[in-house]
């Protein structure tokens, strides 16, 4: 244990960056971008330094813990700390921010405020770090809600032609969830006040409560709907395609790659441990929603004529897998879900960034029909695009495969039928992804593609880390598994679940 407040420092660095950006001269666009990149890289370096000190064998629930009273009248404190799951997601956020800044270098070119764009991204980074690190439920809620503001402005100010509509739809959907969660959160506080004498929002204290099942079922719904909208699960997903389509690629990566993970993260961190009985009660419902989402998302993706919408629906299908893994209550599947969050974050980055590079070169059109034969004029770009597509299919050897496989493995050990249906999602994924690649990259060159220039150094630099991480984690996930496993075991302990005895010989026993 160290006394250095790592998480606070990590969280504050991007915020300071955002403030510095605001005072830089408006005209010096290059300096603004460089400063943004420097601060996001500084946060990444800090994450790496911090991550190296993370003790995977520690028995403590959270590491790098800090706690100061904030609003004592309501037992609210500024408390942060990470377990393995939190650490992995913080790392995902701090990795993807510099990547998106680099990739989105020229996103703002038409007189809109460059400063604002990058400052909002840095503010968002602070909030993302905070939301994964909070161990006070009130603090989590505050960050969960405030996070909407940067995204709202990123979509609404810098997005496509229909941006105001998409931004508002996103915000209203999220607020519906957020306010329901607020009601449930206060309900939880009132329960804690009744049981402990003094109400609290401290995560550990709330896990220790013995809430009667009826109350649990009501409060669970408040949290669950918020998380299901955020993730998003079927049928709460309709904001996602619009938001994804109208966002800049960088915003879409942060929104779908990182922010949406807050929903599934919240399920593991808060729903299961605080409401174990209700989680068990609602598990069939959630599993049904997840499976419908997997199939429905994939089918709708198959029919899309727009790249970004296709990736949005494909993400929805993947979120189904993540939620499935969480709610079948096995160690494999839950570990798998965590890895899938990471893998999907990287896959999303690859998908939206390459799609963005394509769009920039074809007058901003994201319609699939615009493209054709890209691999002849811009082979490097087409290559990365192929990689992104493969990543979306969860090709073995890539990060998303590990997660998907573990989720299915865990599901199979408990619900064979569900696993079989979910597997269909993979088949459909292959269909929509390969169809996309075929239409965009192969065949005769379309008029919009003619003379398309290939990726430049900056663009390649932004994609390479994503590709490397995807491959490394796909081939050698052990380091991440070591970090995540204790946290997952703790969640399984808290909810009093044990893995079912495998009916067949254990597969993948070395996991």
């Amino acid at each position: 244990m160290t006394t250095i407040p790592w998480l606070t420092i990590l969280g504050v660095v991007p915020l300071i960056g955002a403030l510095i950006l605001l005072v830089l001269p408006r005209d010096n666009v290059r300096l603004i971008k460089q400063a943004a990149l420097v601060f996001s890289l500084a946060a990444l370096v800090l994450t790496v330094v911090m991550g190296l000190q993370f003790d995977a064998d520690s028995t403590a629930a959270f590491q790098f813990v800090e706690s100061y009273p904030w609003i004592p009248a309501f037992g609210i404190s500024y408390s942060v700390g990470v377990d393995g799951i939190g650490l992995v997601l913080v790392a995902l956020a701090t990795t993807l921010v510099p990547v998106t800044i680099l990739a989105g270098w020229n996103d703002v070119e038409d007189g809109r405020s460059v400063k604002g764009y990058f400052a909002w991204i840095l503010v968002l980074e602070t909030l993302m770090i905070g939301v994964f690190a909070a161990t006070d439920v009130f603090l989590f809620y505050v960050l969960f809600e405030v996070m909407l503001i940067p995204i709202y402005f990123l979509i609404g100010r810098y997005g496509g032609p229909n941006r105001a509509y998409a931004a508002t739809k996103f915000l209203i959907y999220s607020l519906v969830g957020g306010l329901l969660m607020l009601a449930a959160l206060i309900g939880l506080y009132v329960v804690s006040a009744q049981q402990l004498g003094q109400g609290t929002f401290d995560f550990a204290a709330l896990v220790g409560l013995d809430i009667d099942p009826t109350t649990q079922k009501i409060l669970f719904l408040g949290f669950f709907i918020a998380f299901a909208i955020k993730a998003p699960l079927w049928p709460f997903h309709t904001w996602l395609p619009d938001a994804a389509k109208e966002s800049t690629p960088a915003t879409a990566v942060l929104l779908i790659g990182v922010l949406d993970k807050v929903g599934t993260f919240g399920m593991i961190r808060y729903l299961l441990p605080i409401f174990p009985a209700a989680s068990e009660f609602y598990a069939p419902l959630v599993i049904a929603m997840a499976v419908i989402g997997i199939i429905y998302g994939a089918l709708v993706a198959l029919g899309q004529t727009d790249m970004k919408r296709l990736f949005a629906y494909s993400s929805m299908s993947h979120f189904g897998f993540i939620a499935l893994g969480i709610f079948v209550f096995t160690t494999w599947s839950m570990t798998g879900s965590t890895l899938y969050m990471l893998g999907h974050g990287l896959a999303t980055a690859a998908a939206f960034l390459t799609a963005g590079f394509l769009m920039q070169r074809a007058g901003g059109s994201s319609a699939i029909a615009t493209y054709g034969g890209v691999n002849k004029v811009a082979p490097v770009l087409a290559g990365f695009f192929l990689f992104a597509v493969m990543s979306a299919i969860a090709l073995p050897g890539l990060a998303s495969f590990v997660g998907e496989f573990l989720v299915l493995l865990g599901t199979f050990s408990r619900y064979v039928v569900v696993a079989v249906i979910a597997t269909l999602g993979i088949v459909l994924a292959a269909a929509y992804a390969l169809r996309l690649y075929q239409k965009v990259a192969t065949g005769p060159e379309s008029p919009h593609v003619e003379g398309m220039r290939d990726l430049n150094g900056r663009e390649v630099t932004s994609l390479v880390p994503v590709v490397l991480l995807t491959i490394v984690l796909g081939v050698f996930p052990a380091p991440v598994l070591d970090v995540v496993n204790p946290a997952v075991d703790r969640v399984m302990d808290t909810i009093g679940m044990t893995d079912p005895t495998p009916a067949l010989a254990p597969a993948g026993g070395d996991q």
Partner: protein, 513 residues
């Protein structure tokens, strides 16, 4: 008391000093109007207003440990009373800054040069050309403040009625004195007056019925009578209902809200700011005291009534606000919805509910002052530019002002890190502590509906391009700038560090009986 012997009431003048200071200043203001030359009136009045408000506040702080019934039990100087009086004084101080602004309108301040001159008449043009300013607004303003302070502290139905009138009459006048769009303003004043008189009648009728039941107009005697005669409720319940109707009129709760949009729209923005913030504080203060002190024994009767009214107020206010195209009317409906949230706190009948309501009032007042400060600054040639589409692109042309306004909108929507969020939080917490789950759910639904139009303003300001002939943001003097800065600061600080204010409210304790 023996009716044959009149005993001079014992009065602790020190405890009443804050009210006395403002009251005397108001009377002096009238004298100034008579004896001081036209040119010197404004500075003298401003000194009187700001001096008396500051002096009264200082006296209030000095006497802040007082917990006693004064003037033969007609006034209660107790914790919540002192706190709410302090809030009224601060709100009045900030509101007075907005009223004192003279740089926004090229012709002078926000008030008609002479209220009696016909709108559009030669007379009016002549007065405007000569730069006449109507300084009678200041004594009127101070009388309203005295009325509010009395209203908050009165523990006697008759005193409460007198206070209600002292507070309301000057406001009716102030509402009708706008320099621009005078017909709209006069119409607003008339509507406000007629509906206000109507509600006063309700209140008075209710007081008579309650007197019939309890034989007294004093709160403590009413409470005792209720305890002594638990079975006979018809008379007192009807009386209570009429009293509550009178007060619900003042806070603008549904179904007694019809006057709100017209009055908010027609009045000059600085008056609306003061009225929207301070009248709510005073009326809710009075309502809380009336219900908690005099009618605590009947709470099983008034709680369900307030639940229904609170729910309706939140929902109707939020839904109708969506359809508004005028920013002042939208804010008016939003303030109706906000009153519904405060009513949630009132309806709990607990100390937590009382504190939550007070916190909500603090948060709401400053946000409202700030909103109208901004509205008074966004102008075109016809005065305030209040059509929502005129605000298009304000975020591009005036980022600072637009950001302030966006902060207020987020606060009203209840987004965390603003005062509005903590306010909603404490109110919902108080409600859930008494198991009013349904009310909280309605509140949540209303918040979502309301978020839609708050967010729409942000969309208009930041995501749209400026329209042709867009209004300009007039450069204000220090008065409005300071008022706006205070409002923004309070809105943000209460959202991030509410603990000191929560402590202050909790230390104030509950009403004296």
């Amino acid at each position: 008391m023996n009716p044959d012997v009149m005993v001079a009431p014992e009065i602790d003048y020190l405890a009443l000093l804050p009210m006395i200071i403002v009251g005397v200043a108001a009377v002096l203001g009238v004298i100034v109007e008579t004896f001081v030359g036209r040119g010197a009136r404004r500075p003298v009045q401003l000194v009187l207003v700001f001096g008396s408000l500051a002096g009264a506040f200082a006296a209030l702080v000095w006497q802040s440990s007082t917990r006693s019934l004064e003037v033969e039990g007609a006034l209660a100087i107790d914790g919540p009373g002192i706190l709410l009086m302090g809030l009224v004084l601060i709100v009045a101080f900030v509101g007075a800054m907005l009223m004192a602004e003279r740089q926004l309108d090229p012709a002078g301040d926000s008030f008609a040069p002479r209220a009696s001159a016909l709108p559009g008449s030669v007379d009016e043009r002549e007065l405007t050309k000569r730069g006449y300013l109507q300084t009678e607004v200041w004594p009127l303003f101070l009388f309203a403040v005295v009325g509010m302070m009395l209203f908050i502290t009165s523990t006697n139905l008759l005193v409460m009625f007198v206070a209600l009138e002292v507070m309301s009459l000057p406001l009716y006048l102030l509402a009708g004195m706008a320099r621009r769009r005078r017909l709209l303003s006069q119409e607003a004043a008339l509507k406000y007056f007629i509906l206000g008189a109507f509600s006063s009648a309700f209140f008075l009728f209710g007081a008579a019925l309650v007197y019939g039941f309890s034989g007294s107009v004093e709160f403590s005697a009413i409470a005792d009578a209720l305890a002594a005669k638990p079975g006979e409720t018809a008379l007192i319940v009807i009386g209570l209902a009429m009293l509550v109707v009178g007060l619900l009129f003042k806070v603008g709760a549904v179904p007694f809200h019809q006057w709100v949009p017209d009055v908010y729209q027609g009045s000059p923005a600085p008056v609306t700011a003061f009225m929207a913030a301070a009248v709510k504080v005073a009326a809710f203060g009075a309502m809380l005291r009336l219900l908690y002190v005099a009618f605590g024994g009947l709470r099983w009767d008034w709680e369900p009534l307030l639940w229904v009214v609170a729910g309706l107020t939140m929902i109707v206010g939020s839904i109708v606000a969506i359809a508004q195209t005028d920013i002042k009317r939208m804010i008016a409906y939003s303030s109706i919805a906000q009153a519904g949230f405060i009513l949630i706190g009132v309806s709990t009948a607990t100390a937590e509910g009382l504190w939550a309501s007070i916190f909500y009032l603090v948060a709401y007042s400053f946000t409202t002052l700030g909103i109208f400060a901004v509205i008074s600054m966004v102008r075109d040639s016809g005065g305030e530019a209040t059509r929502i589409e005129q605000w298009s692109g304000l975020g591009r042309t005036n980022p600072v002002i637009a950001t302030c306004f966006a902060i207020f909108m987020l606060a009203l929507a209840g987004i965390p890190l603003t005062s509005g969020f903590i306010a909603k939080f404490v109110v919902f917490e108080a409600a859930l502590a008494v198991d009013a789950v349904a009310l909280v759910i309605v509140g949540v639904i209303a918040s979502v509906i309301a978020a839609f139009f708050y967010v729409r303003i942000i969309v208009v300001m930041f995501f749209r391009d400026p329209i042709e002939g867009a209004p300009r943001v007039a450069v204000p003097s220090g008065f409005t700038t300071l008022a706006l800065s205070i409002s923004v600061a309070v809105t943000v600080i209460l959202g991030i560090l509410p603990q000191p204010v929560l402590d202050l409210i909790e230390r104030a304790g509950v009403f004296l009986r």
